[in-house]
Symmetry: C2
DNA sequence: CCCGGAAGATACCGTTCGGTACGGATAAGG
DNA sequence: CCTTATCCGTACCGAACGGTATCTTCCGGG
């Protein structure tokens, strides 16, 4: 199936982003695949706990290749966090797109459980445990992650506020409080998953949390 | 969410050493005070993020003094965690001693908020953010903290199960699920406090969480 | 009053950290 | 073919890591 020239494919766009025409020796590893491996290391060990040695070993590349492709450790982490958003954290965007607030909440909570307990991934949530605390020198990264979490919370808030305006939630709903409750339970689930709790046990937590839901 | 008695090692050893007749030059710093300072550093930066340089600077002592008094970094951390249990985390033991399950829950949640947002302390909870993830070499510490959290959860479970047997909670109550819900909300509150949420906002979360309470 | 013994201070240990210089390898363009 | 531009691999950098040897300082008991 071919596309009109006016709508460039992803490959074309990526090629365009490479400012220079393709010259020299081509990269011998898959960038996306290496990024995915790095994401898993950050997920399991956190930003500071993930050493360059552990990262390059998991990615199957050498240090200079890593630096050429991702800038530095912080850049790699940022890309890994973004990659998480389009991968394991994808459920959030899908949840926010649900038609009813109750469905939004349920998908957020079930998705948090499913992602944080997926046996194919490290336990927990990268956005929570990637840099919850940090040494003084890594504090900028910690601050970025804080802002990221808070931006996500703001999106949930906007979605629920819209639901309230639409009559999908009672007009008297304290959207601020409901949002923070929802996100807090998601975060708590992430911590508990990181502590080894089973998917079934955490889904029972979701059942209880949803009993709070208005209307 | 556990109690200091869970890891008695370092404190007991040091206490035993203290029982001998005091000879030689007396210690010129207050051990408890230094431990408290160390706790704050671990609280803010995590186990791995807290360097010996940062620790000794905050404690106002030199490295050899630290090693003489606390063994090594891991030992200092364990003592700091225990110290947290008798200090900022004291509310947990008091909560478990309340006569009614509902009061237990409320004190656990309010205490979590109060401690995690105390302006005199770092934001969040040491038991959550002290070692939620770790590098391979610090993994034993992470595992200890995991066990500590799970032991605390077990204590809450026992308390609620007792309440159920006493008729304080409905006989049909799923204590396992209720416990995990309670602890998850506490953990979520800790994460949100670490992200800068205000005490007021988090107390609204507690209000919502308590609506789940049976009977 | 001196001497045993523990604490404090300095200066250092080997290792690992994040990050890079450099030279050989490998493709496309001419 | 040769040039050119990029990538890979090795080997290394200074700094910071956790931890310690050593010497000086100071107190209590004889």
């Amino acid at each position: 199936m071919s596309l009109p020239a006016a709508i460039p494919t992803a490959a074309v766009v990526t090629a365009a982003k490479r400012s220079k025409p393709r010259l020299g020796r081509p990269r011998s590893f898959n960038r996306e695949q290496a990024l995915d491996a790095a994401m898993h290391v950050f997920w399991r060990q956190g930003y500071e706990g993930a050493s360059l040695t552990a990262l390059t070993a998991a990615m199957g590349i050498n240090r200079p290749s890593l630096y050429a492709a991702f800038g530095d450790k912080a850049g790699l982490f940022r890309e890994a966090v973004a990659h998480y958003g389009t991968g394991p954290g994808r459920y959030i965007r899908r949840a926010l797109g649900q038609p009813k607030a109750r469905q939004v909440a349920e998908m957020l909570l079930r998705g948090a459980v499913a992602t944080a307990t997926d046996p194919a991934n490290p336990n927990g949530c990268l956005w929570v445990q990637g840099a919850l605390v940090a040494s003084a020198e890594a504090d900028p990264i910690r601050t970025e992650m804080m802002a990221l979490r808070n931006a996500g919370t703001a999106q949930v808030h906007d979605r629920l506020e819209r639901a309230r305006r639409e009559g999908d939630l009672p007009a008297a709903t304290d959207v601020q409080a409901l949002t923070l409750f929802l996100v807090s339970v998601m975060n708590g689930i992430a911590v508990q998953a990181s502590s080894g709790r089973s998917r079934e046990a955490l889904n029972n937590v979701v059942d209880l949390a949803l009993k709070v839901w208005p209307a």
